[in-house]
């Protein structure tokens, strides 16, 4: 099973706090900050770690300040669990 993980980077100094991105986010990952940026706007911050990298927020942002990342992680297949190991296990640590 593949796991999709997304993340965004917002140029908060250019954000005008219009909240269009927040409304467009299907994961409800975004919220307005309590702090102000130097322009005097509340800016958008990511409050949840559930972003899927769908790019919706970036598409509707009038300021074009959202960069979106997405990575599909393939889960490693489990080859053995502790319970079904019968012989001795030697662990080597390379530091």
């Amino acid at each position: 099973m593949a796991k999709v993980k997304g993340d965004i980077i917002i140029d908060i100094e250019k954000c005008k706090g219009c909240e269009l991105c927040k409304a467009a986010c299907p994961q409800e990952s975004l919220e307005l900050s309590r702090k102000l940026n130097t322009k005097g706007y509340h800016y958008i911050v990511k409050i949840e770690d559930n972003c899927t990298g769908c790019t919706n927020c970036a598409l509707v942002c009038p300021e074009g300040i959202i960069k979106v990342y997405r990575k599909t992680e393939k889960k490693k297949e489990q080859v053995a669990t502790i319970s079904n190991v019968t012989g001795d296990i030697t662990v080597t640590v390379n530091s």
């Binding site: 509707v60 009038p62 074009g64 490693k76």
Partner: protein
């Protein structure tokens, strides 16, 4: 949850999570190069910013940055040349399509577009708009329709909806004394000179994608010398509609879009 009580699987998931995925290999969306880093002067939530960005994305994707010339209007987007890193020319109020005509005729290999609001294109520039379309100039006209005069402070425009309040129609537009809203896009679609006429919006991610496709198609048609392409983008004007950006998008969906329905008005025939 501490480390010891985690299952192997949860631990593995946490390991993935702790590793930032914000590296260049994983970028799926970034601002187009043609859009400059200059902060835009538009009000928060204004659709102009999205329209600019879409133009820049299309120009990047078609790799025509050095071959594109834009003509900026008078209105809120008068400073469009600050944000689009291409050659641009400012036109007198309403005359952008006439200026674009001149540029395209002298430099037929360039991709030429005008970018105009409703006050510019559908009021003072109605004559230029109709004749440019009727001549079938091989240019793209981008028409931003928010149903109001933005820059000058929210006066009634030809596109203002019936009953819609503006500073010059404080009780709402009365069609008996003030006339009907002008659907200039439907009007010019009747002219034989126009090749592709469509209406889009940028209020939702889906509409943003569609608007981008329309702009891209228009530049491709221009390359094939197909004739005039006209892309209307219905946008909001939170400041002069006197609403928050989110309220304005809701109002747009409930009022503007039923009156100005989205979709192709004239599909290319050949």
């Amino acid at each position: 949850m501490n480390e010891r009580t985690m299952t192997e699987e949860q631990h593995f998931e946490q390991m993935i999570e702790e590793e930032s995925i914000c590296i260049n290999d994983n970028i799926v969306y970034d601002k187009p190069e043609t859009l400059t880093d200059t902060p835009m002067h538009y009000c928060p939530g204004c659709g102009h910013g999205v329209a600019h960005r879409l133009l820049a994305e299309v120009i990047d994707e078609l790799d025509i940055q050095d071959k594109t010339i834009g003509v900026a209007p008078v209105g809120c987007s008068v400073l469009a040349y600050n944000y689009l890193n291409i050659d641009m020319q400012e036109a007198a109020h309403g005359r952008a399509s006439a200026v674009a005509t001149g540029i395209k005729r002298v430099l037929p290999d360039k991709f030429v577009f005008s970018y105009q609001g409703d006050g510019d294109l559908a009021a003072i520039g109605t004559g230029e708009t109709i004749h440019t379309c009727n001549r079938g100039e091989n240019i793209l006209i981008v028409f931003i329709n928010n149903g109001i005069y933005g820059m000058t402070g929210g006066q009634m425009a030809p596109t203002t909806l019936p009953g819609m309040k503006s500073t010059t129609s404080p009780n709402g537009r009365d069609i008996i004394t003030m006339g009907n809203p002008l659907k200039i896009t439907e009007l010019i679609a009747q002219l034989p000179g126009t090749y592709y006429v469509t209406r889009c919006a940028v209020n939702t991610p889906v509409n943003v994608r569609k608007a981008k496709m329309a702009l891209k198609k228009s530049f491709e048609y221009q390359k094939e010398n197909k004739g005039l392409c006209f892309v209307e983008i219905v946008t909001n004007c939170p400041s002069n509609w006197k609403m928050s950006p989110l309220e304005s998008n809701k109002w747009l969906e409930e009022n503007m879009l039923p009156f100005y329905p989205l979709g192709d008005i004239k599909k290319p025939t050949n």
